[in-house]
């Protein structure tokens, strides 16, 4: 169903999610957070980093209601669903889903809280619900 290629830079994230923990990378040089790529995070690629658990609090940076399936056949019978770019308290954006029964209540800037959703035996995905 999901053709996920976990690698060195994402293994801790996915293993953490299985334990209902939202894991991010944190630069030991300047304390800034990032996830996977350092682009636009003010972290340099040669910084040392550690994995830390995030608070799980954030707000909606942007979102889209998708009327077509994307990414995986899993979504073939799930439309419409909401994909959100969530700006976490740690100043990192994470691509995720916003879980709600009321699509109209979703707006940019609204506060959200992590909600761990089991997608398959292998994958728990940190999703978000409106606070």
């Amino acid at each position: 169903m999901f053709n996920l290629f976990i690698d060195k830079d994402s293994r801790v994230f996915w293993e953490g999610a299985k334990k209902n923990r939202l894991m991010l990378q944190k630069s030991k040089n300047n304390g800034n957070f990032f996830l996977y790529s350092v682009g636009h995070s003010n972290v340099a690629a040669d910084h040392e980093f550690e994995w830390v658990e995030a608070s799980g609090n954030g707000k909606i940076y942007s979102y889209t209601v998708s009327y077509i399936p994307g990414g995986s056949k899993y979504y073939l019978d799930k439309t419409p669903y909401i994909i959100g770019s969530i700006l976490l308290e740690e100043n990192v954006r994470i691509m995720s889903n916003i879980i709600t029964d009321d699509i109209k209540s979703v707006e940019i800037g609204k506060k959200v809280k992590v909600y761990f959703r089991k997608l398959s035996d292998e994958i728990v995905f940190p999703c978000f619900k409106l606070v």
Partner: protein, 392 residues
């Protein structure tokens, strides 16, 4: 003074289904385009010593070395310069400026830039089974349709920040259609209204089906040479006055500000500086329109209006045949063709406008400087070039 210049162009014919002829392959399309462009340039394949190509074709898994495949297939004898830069749909404008530098510096003399696609005929455009890999692994697990979902996130953010809306975007789609009606080789030529766009099938909010580029086959070729070779080209040489290129991200979530197209700000700044021009010196622009939002954000980033003021700039058909700022006179990726990687068509149409070969859609005003801008990936990469009838 050795001045690189464009001396021939060609685009593939597409039929009423948006396909090239039934027996063409992704390679034969490029050969046919190359033959036509070379003929218009007054050159032969044996004159070509530089080749640039990008595409989405090849073998799934092992991939394919596209410059090698075309060198062999076209019998180009030991080219001195090859470029396979692939930055997404912007790639051909990258190729143009790389070719400029190669020719200017005597690395090679005559360059072919090629593109071909059979994505419509072969129904290749399926993204559901692709691996969730690298930074896009999170997007794929979240079910973000690519690329439309990424552009939708940018559009939503732009609307939130600047008050643009679905009518703003629809203006762009309607202007493209009104141009396409004047282009005999355009795929979509039926009437289109603002309401048609707003009421079309929702895809990823706020983008509807008619905010999205077409899915067609297609291909194109561009021939570059230089003024030392000779001065009496079949077409007046078109010069490259300035260019800029850059990249920022691969997954949309790593775009610094989703409401502002920073890569286009940077690439156009370099192009303006090199040419000693500003937006007011540009007579006409060809702007890659993968989605309506791409045009809105590009217009702002390229300096044709202020950031956030695109919503007023595009009103009342301003980009269309009767507007004050015509763009994309071929009908664009929204209504002419979109074989997957479109920027080569911005260059082809710009040259044809400068040569006065555009028939019913030929702009009535005097044209000297045309800006072409390409976006690649999901607002990821950008290349801007300024073409001109005047040499540097």
């Amino acid at each position: 003074m050795r001045q690189p210049c464009i001396i021939g162009v060609s685009d593939a014919k597409i039929n009423e289904k948006g396909c090239t002829s039934q027996d063409s392959s992704v390679l034969s399309i490029q050969k046919d385009c190359a033959i036509e462009a070379l003929d218009k340039a007054g050159l032969n394949f044996k004159d070509i010593d530089g080749l640039a190509v990008a595409g989405l074709w090849g073998m799934p898994g092992p991939g394919v070395m596209q410059p090698n495949v075309l060198t062999e297939y076209l019998g180009i004898s030991y080219p001195k310069w090859l470029d396979g830069t692939n930055t997404g749909g912007s790639a051909f404008i990258f190729h143009l400026q790389h070719a400029f530098q190669a020719i200017k510096n005597n690395v090679c003399n005559n360059v072919l830039i090629l593109y071909g696609s059979t994505q419509k005929s072969n129904k290749e455009r399926n993204f559901l089974d692709r691996p969730a890999i690298f930074s896009s692994q999170f997007d794929m697990i979240a079910g973000l349709p690519s690329p439309v979902g990424a552009y939708a996130l940018a559009a939503q953010r732009h609307m939130h920040k600047f008050g643009s809306n679905k009518e703003t975007l629809a203006e762009i789609a309607v202007a493209a259609r009104n141009w396409a009606k004047l282009n005999p080789n355009a795929y979509k030529k039926d009437k289109l209204t603002i309401d048609d766009v707003i009421n079309s099938q929702p895809i990823c909010s706020p983008l509807n089906k008619l905010d999205c580029c077409l899915v067609t086959d297609g291909g194109g070729a561009i021939v570059l040479s230089h003024t030392d070779r000779k001065s009496d080209f079949k077409n007046d040489p078109i010069f490259i006055k300035g260019f800029g290129e850059t990249s920022s991200h691969s997954s949309i979530n790593y775009m610094e500000d989703m409401s502002r197209l920073d890569v286009a700000i940077k690439s156009s700044e370099d192009a303006y500086n090199m040419s000693k021009m500003s937006p007011k010196d540009i007579d006409f622009a060809m702007i890659y329109d993968s989605f309506t939002i791409t045009v809105l954000m590009s217009l702002e980033a390229l300096g044709f209006c202020e950031i956030g003021e695109g919503k007023d700039f595009v009103k009342n058909g301003n980009l269309g045949p009767n507007g004050s700022f015509p763009i994309n006179t071929n009908g664009g990726g929204l209504s002419y063709c979109h074989p997957g990687m479109y920027s080569i068509f911005t260059l082809i149409e710009a040259c044809r406008q400068l040569w006065g070969q555009c028939g019913d859609r030929q702009l009535k005003k005097n044209l000297t400087n045309v800006l072409c801008h390409g976006t690649g990936g999901v607002l990821s990469s950008a290349a801007t070039t300024i073409l001109s009838k005047e040499s540097s």
